[in-house]
């Protein structure tokens, strides 16, 4: 709001107090930028020293992660692939299911039920990840271990399933918002030309919502990549490259996030291992930053382009 303010004349005390308070408010306004910059700063501060002794290419492409051997080997490829496999699996499950659910809530379900759905989804989204991890460990892992050829239930598959369950509220909520905000004129025009509601949905509404659904998927991907506790408890944490011949998803993997959580407790401050873990943190920060930035661009474009 930028209307010119003509207040009654201020006393000296009021002038001083108001100017201080307004300065504090302005400072607070930049808090978010400041904190984000600080996060990046400290990740760099403790992560870049890793590159002093270990080349970036060797780290990214190395296929062995032996941080406590002598000398230590910091090949991050198994960790990266672990994150990739688990994330891909989770999105493969969550996106179709989530978008279908969003379509159902926005277009098929009766109008009064929408707020009930939204509330339930919002509440389900607040369940802590450690609870999901524990439940996955306690109930689903034994089920998976009954499959033939599987030694332990703690696998990438379980990770993907649990992460999909955790990502669904995000996907459903945002996709539903996008579809709900598509102007009704689109629907009425289609129906007026004789289309059924389903034809309207899948030929008019969903294509119009596509950028928003893409953004929802990206945000969910960011959340899945960054998830720590659930995958830590449920994927078995073997830092080895998942092999296709061993039934990709039924192996134990370790993600980037779980590596940090698992090893940071035992690391010597200032050692190469310590810096390596911060380097992983830096990589995670940059990945999620890029994903969120892209999603933000997409969301802004559909917001203004209609």
């Amino acid at each position: 709001m930028n209307t010119k303010v003509i207040a009654r004349p201020r006393t000296l005390a009021e002038k001083i107090v108001e100017s201080i308070v307004e300065r504090v408010i302005t400072l607070a306004g930049f808090a978010a930028i400041a904190i984000l910059a600080l996060i990046l700063l400290f990740l760099l501060r403790d992560g870049l020293p890793f590159l002093r002794e270990y080349s970036f290419a060797r780290a990214l492409g190395g296929i062995n992660w032996y941080p406590i051997s002598f000398p230590p080997v910091f090949g991050m490829l198994p960790l990266i692939l672990g994150s990739v496999v688990v994330t891909a699996g989770a999105l493969a499950l969550a996106v179709p299911l989530g978008v279908a659910s969003a379509i159902f809530i926005a277009e098929v379900a009766p109008g009064w039920s929408r707020s009930i759905f939204k509330t339930v989804i919002e509440v389900l989204a607040t369940i802590p990840s450690v609870v999901y991890g524990f439940i996955g460990l306690a109930t689903l892992a034994p089920l998976i271990s009954r499959l033939p050829g599987v030694v332990s239930g703690q696998t990438a598959l379980l990770g993907s399933v649990i992460l999909a369950i955790m990502a669904l509220p995000t996907i459903i909520s945002i996709s539903e918002d996008v579809m709900y905000s598509i102007p009704n004129t689109y629907r009425t025009a289609s129906l007026a030309m004789g289309a059924t509601r389903w034809q309207t949905i899948h030929r008019v509404v969903v294509p119009a919502a596509r950028p928003g659904i893409l953004a929802a998927t990206m945000l969910a991907m960011g959340r899945v990549v960054g998830e720590t506790m659930a995958v830590l408890m449920v994927t078995g944490n073997a830092a080895s490259i998942p092999k296709l011949q061993n039934l990709l998803l039924l192996q134990s993997v370790r993600t980037l996030t779980a590596t940090i959580a698992q090893e940071m407790g035992e690391v010597v401050f200032g050692s190469p291992h310590y810096h390596a873990l911060f380097m992983i943190g830096l990589i995670l920060f940059l990945i999620t930053f890029a994903i969120n930035l892209a999603a933000d661009v997409v969301l802004r474009r559909i917001g203004g382009g209609r």
Binding site: P96, A100, E122, T126, V130, V131, F134, T228, I260, N292
Partner: protein
């Protein structure tokens, strides 16, 4: 068969599939909650929540973890709420419509997307090590405050924006200054939205594990200090916390009793839901109702 009939049948099938998808999507968490309640009730009792763990954490209760979580929540809210509200005031009342403001919005959105383990690393690097707080309640609270700041800011901005402009103009036209208007007109009318955001933030902070693993969480600390009688010592020391406690007994304590794990999960779930359910319901009700 005519085209309309075919189309209608396809529609009926499609809608059924969509409904099933929605059910499949929403059922698992609900089933999980049910299982936790069913299994956790066995061990849940007054003794469980009022006594510390014993026998190497294979028996006993979760009292120190509950107290630790309470301390963390208090510290987090004390830091995040004022900062978040002030930031929201800047964004809604003072910020010019320029690229700098756009940058702030981007920063807030990105803060919300940073993985919690990265917040943990940040907290460790800045508060625990660089500022020398070492693993402590104050380090954990600062880290959690950074983590929930986006939630507080976004809810507060929404709350401030919901206050009609006419309220502000009326106040200004009576000779009040901008700050007076904010303090006496805008803030009081936005309080419900702000509180909702704060409660949701508390729920998030209470369930957060990765961010506190290396900034405050103790593996086993059965005796918690009293924050009211020894504030500095408590703030400067470690505590146990419910989410990390669940993680530890589920993965790192050999021979832990399964029923204790379920009960701990149940306590954690209850603590979080007691905040988030009322806040979410209230938020939906408020958004649906026509304002003013």
């Amino acid at each position: 068969m005519n085209r309309v009939r075919v189309a209608r049948t396809i529609e009926r099938i499609a809608f059924t599939i969509l409904g099933l998808a929605c059910l499949t999507a929403m059922l698992p968490p609900v089933i999980f909650v049910y299982i936790i309640v069913a299994e956790g009730m066995e061990r849940l009792s007054l003794t469980f929540v009022t006594s510390p763990p014993t026998m190497g954490m294979t028996a006993g209760g979760v009292l120190p973890a509950i107290i630790g979580t309470v301390y963390l929540i208090l510290g987090t809210i004390v830091i995040a709420l004022p900062l978040g509200i002030l930031c929201a005031i800047y964004l809604t009342e003072y910020a010019p419509k320029g690229p700098l403001t756009r940058l702030i919005d981007i920063a807030i959105m990105n803060m919300a997307g940073v993985p919690s383990i990265v917040y943990g690393l940040f907290g460790m690097g800045l508060f625990v090590l660089a500022l020398g707080f070492s693993q402590s309640v104050i380090a954990g609270a600062l880290t959690l405050a950074a983590l929930i700041l986006p939630i507080i800011i976004t809810s507060s901005v929404e709350a401030f924006r919901a206050v009609p402009q006419s309220f502000r103009w009326a106040s200004l036209s009576l000779g009040a200054s901008k700050l007076q208007t904010i303090r006496r007109v805008v803030l009081p009318n936005a309080i419900s939205g702000i509180v909702t955001g704060a409660v949701l933030g508390i729920g998030r902070a209470a369930g957060e594990t990765a961010a506190i693993l290396f900034t405050v969480a103790a593996f086993f600390l059965p005796v918690t200090r009293n924050i009211f009688t020894e504030p500095m010592a408590t703030l400067g020391g470690q505590v146990m916390a419910l989410p990390t406690h669940l993680y530890f007994i589920a993965t790192q304590v050999p021979g832990a009793d399964r029923s204790i794990m379920w009960a701990t999960a149940l306590v954690l779930l209850l603590v979080v839901l007691v905040f988030t359910i009322p806040a979410s319901v209230y938020r939906t009700v408020i958004r649906a109702r026509k304002k003013w």
